[in-house]
């Protein structure tokens, strides 16, 4: 590795007003290397990527490409110099066709189509981006970057929104890219992926690189330690301890169907049970959660709560039956410009009977209770958008702690959340179940099922493919069921 670095970054810093996004970042990447960039939420990874690709400019620091100092003025500029990114946020324009999207970034159509077909996908170039599902869109974004045949490919949490099979594809694409002697910067919160493909890893903490090492098998502990620093106390996952589950059903779902996505889904959730839901992307789990939450209407089937048949016309109907929903996307769950307090207390005022004067004393009591039990960092409490991702996620759950619930529908609550906060959220879910409340938990990281659930169902093509007891919730069984392989 004595050859000249492809890219070298020294003393890079960037602040947004009083928020230091990047303090002092240093690292280098060699040709033909896959380099992982790791760090807790808010560590500054995306900021670094944006500076590298000319989206924003750094406050100070040096970027050298092949030993030559560079500063890109725009993503376009960076692309022409062989750096192509796939950003964490979607970068395809929703209302224009894929073809025009390609034109906008000067991407060669044929090369793009070649990359797409290499992924085993097919795309109609006349389609509007908004008509395409998110995972495919992420792959299109990747293909667009690859079509420029960059010396350095930067992937910022591309796998977070991808189902397992596509994530695997991305891993192999990175491998192929490396095989051509080119480099990749790979950002992900899924440590397994890091170990699988990366050569080296750099860990950022509070905007500073704290550790760089070979990403070999078993480096997980080291990564976690570096990422969390002093907060390391939380690093070990609370191991699941079986607790007594009541025998009576809280909710029964009978042959539920919804459009083309859900067909004949039946299962039950007992009181005090944490039921896991595992599925690849797009197997109908989104719709299932929305229907149970009253946010979408089923096209068939029945729902029973405590043995009584119910129909939900609006989320508030579900809430009145004690069913609360934590959507996967924080953007659809929070009022970003309002305070933590208003966000937490919102559901209290949902009924017209509560439109009158607020009982501030009572409200404060409930809100403080939730803040304390979830350990929400209230430093930026006046506007939730100023909170870090993990704390925002806690607020979405905390809302239901203030109002109380019997069943919590948690859709991928740890997506894009750092390891420490993840552990906290799982602890919280355990506490709920200890209190006799039920949780339906979908997670895109299969091994988390084992860490937090009493039982799991696996969805495949809109049907319940498997109903696995705790003992069988190992990754292999879940994965094979998720791929439609019948397991007994």
């Amino acid at each position: 590795m004595s050859q000249q670095a492809l890219l070298k970054i020294s003393n890079l810093a960037k602040s947004y007003g009083s928020v230091v996004a990047l303090r002092n970042a240093n690292f280098s990447i060699s040709p033909g290397e896959i380099h992982a960039l790791l760090g807790a939420n808010g560590a500054g990874k995306s900021t670094l990527v944006k500076i590298l690709t000319g989206v924003i400019s750094g406050d100070q620091g040096l970027i050298e490409l092949n030993g030559r100092e560079v500063a890109f003025s725009s993503p376009d500029n960076a692309r022409k110099n062989g750096i192509a990114p796939v950003f964490q946020d979607p970068a395809l324009i929703p209302d224009i066709s894929i073809q025009r999207n390609l034109y906008l970034t000067d991407t060669d159509k044929d090369r793009f189509l070649f990359e797409i077909s290499a992924m085993g996908l097919s795309v109609d170039l006349n389609q509007l981006a908004s008509d395409i599902e998110l995972p495919i869109l992420r792959m299109i974004d990747l293909a667009r970057a690859l079509a420029h045949d960059p010396e350095l490919l930067i992937l910022d949490e591309i796998t977070a929104a991808l189902p397992i099979d596509m994530a695997e594809k991305v891993i192999s694409i990175m491998g192929a890219h490396k095989a051509r002697g080119k480099s990749v910067i790979f950002i992900s919160h899924r440590l397994a992926e890091i170990e699988e493909i990366c050569d080296r890893a750099t860990v950022l903490r509070d905007g500073t690189n704290v550790d760089t090492f070979d990403a070999t098998q078993g480096s997980e502990a080291r990564i976690v330690a570096a990422m969390l620093g002093d907060k390391n106390v939380l690093a070990t996952h609370s191991t699941k301890q079986k607790n007594k589950i009541a025998t009576d059903d809280f909710m029964r779902v009978e042959s539920l169907s919804g459009g083309k996505q859900l067909k004949d889904v039946s299962f039950t959730i007992k009181r005090g049970e944490v039921l896991g839901v595992a599925a690849l992307e797009g197997q109908g789990q989104d719709l299932l959660f929305e229907i149970l939450a009253g946010a979408s209407k089923p096209t068939g089937g029945k729902l029973f709560v405590n043995g009584e048949e119910v129909t939900f016309h609006h989320p508030s109907d579900a809430i009145s039956y004690g069913i609360s929903y934590v959507p996967g996307d924080r953007k659809t769950a929070l009022m970003p410009q309002r305070s933590i307090r208003e966000n937490l207390a919102l559901t209290r005022y949902r009924g017209m009977r509560r439109w009158g004067k607020i009982n501030f004393g009572e409200e404060e009591l409930k809100v403080d209770g939730a803040v304390q039990s979830l350990e929400i960092d209230t430093r930026a409490k006046s506007q939730v958008k100023r909170l870090s991702g993990g704390n925002q996620q806690k607020v979405t759950i905390g809302r239901w702690v203030t109002t109380g619930f019997d069943l919590l529908l948690c859709f991928d609550p740890t997506r894009g959340i750092d390891v420490g906060t993840k552990a906290q959220i799982y602890d919280l879910i355990r506490t709920f179940s200890d209190q006799g409340k039920s949780v339906l938990l979908f997670t895109s990281e299969l091994r988390e099922i084992q860490l937090s659930c009493d039982r799991a169902i696996v969805l495949y093509e809109g049907k319940v493919q498997a109903n696995l007891p705790f003992e069988k919730c190992d990754e292999v069984s879940l994965l094979s069921a998720a791929h439609g392989i019948v397991s007994k």
Binding site: S18, A293, A295, H314, P315, S316, A318, I319, S320, Y325, P327, K331, T332, A333, L334, M335, P336, Q337, R338, E342, A345, L346, T347, R348, Y349, R350, M352, R354, W355, G356, K357, I358, T378, R379, A380, K381, S382, Q383, R399
Partner: protein, 318 residues
């Protein structure tokens, strides 16, 4: 921790302070240009003239906090004034009842269209305004035929002074203004208005029936608009089709100058009150300076732009 808290508080007061600063400097400039301005009676009349604008801005604030806007407020105000002035011959109570029903009706249509059918508020209320102009143009020669004279009691309530500079309309404004501030900051509905404007999807998932909140917002806005219409009609003594035309765009400007986001979810009526006062003093200033209409128009536009700009820069920096 207290650091960030303090920053947030100072951010808020910087905004409010700058509004006070702007109002004060305009006040001084106006007084220097026209020495009659520094009399109790001139101040009283300025406060009185700010009332209709302030009421329109109140309605607009509520709509804008939910992420909407109400441009039909011009014809809501005009319509209410027409109804009261023409129907008052058959009893003031009845006339006010008709006007109230009219406001509720229009507010309901606007609110349902926006809330249930997802209409764009700008188009909905612009269209509604066009429809209402047509309806009343036809109306004054048919079903609303009659002598449109404002009842004396309304003239008194909209322009009568108690002791300078305190006038009846000003008291009315304090009452309704207090009510609006209370509604927005101390009630469940207020919370929902902010929530819906900030993120309607999130509010829905939290169990809020968003359309009901929007419906309530447009009805309240229409009622305030109707009240403003009566005030305008009472102050000039005349009811004409163009009654509220000259105040609609200023009502939007007042709300924005007062720091309410046109995208919804953030702002306050206190700010809009400041905005209304600033624009009223500005109009007094423009009335007193001796320059052509052309120059006045330019100054007005320039000052509104500068105010909005400074305000946004001031709040953005800290």
């Amino acid at each position: 921790m207290s650091n960030i808290l303090k920053k947030v508080q100072s951010r808020f007061s910087v905004a409010m302070l700058s509004l006070w600063g702007i109002l004060f400097s305009l006040f001084v400039v106006t007084g220097l240009v026209d020495h009659y301005f520094f009399t109790i009676s001139s101040i009283g009349v300025t406060l009185q003239l700010a009332v209709p604008l302030g009421l329109l801005a109140a309605g607009q604030t509520i709509c804008m906090l939910t992420g909407g806007i109400d441009l039909s407020i011009a014809m809501i105000a005009t319509g209410a004034a027409f109804i009261v002035s023409i129907k008052s011959s058959s009893g003031l109570g009845l006339a006010i009842l008709y006007a109230t029903l009219y406001c509720i009706l229009i507010g309901t249509i606007n609110g349902l269209a926006v809330g249930l059918f997802g209409m764009n508020p700008l188009i909905m209320t612009l269209g509604m305004n066009a429809v209402l102009i047509g309806v009343f143009t036809v109306g004054i020669t048919t079903f609303l035929k009659g002598s449109s004279t404002m009842p004396d009691i309304i003239i008194k309530l909209s322009s009568g002074s108690i002791i300078d500079p305190i006038s009846w309309p000003f008291l009315l404004w304090i009452f309704f203004g207090g009510l609006i501030i209370f509604l927005l900051s101390k009630t469940g509905l207020g919370r929902l208005i902010y929530a819906v404007g900030d993120n309607a999807t999130a509010a829905r998932l939290a169990g809020v029936r968003v359309w009901k909140v929007q419906l309530a917002a447009y009805i309240i806005c229409a009622l305030l608009g109707g009240l403003a219409g009566l005030m305008i009609g009472g102050q000039s003594g005349a009811v004409a089709m163009s009654l509220a035309d000259s105040l609609v765009l200023p009502s939007v400007a007042a709300v924005v100058i007062g720091g309410t986001s046109i995208m919804g979810g953030i702002g306050s009526y206190t700010g809009s009150i400041m905005g209304a006062l600033i624009l009223t003093v500005l109009s007094y200033l423009l009335a007193t300076i001796n320059s052509s209409e052309a120059v006045k128009q330019m100054i007005y536009g320039f000052i509104v732009l500068t105010l909005a700009w400074t305000y946004s820069k001031l709040t953005e920096k800290s």
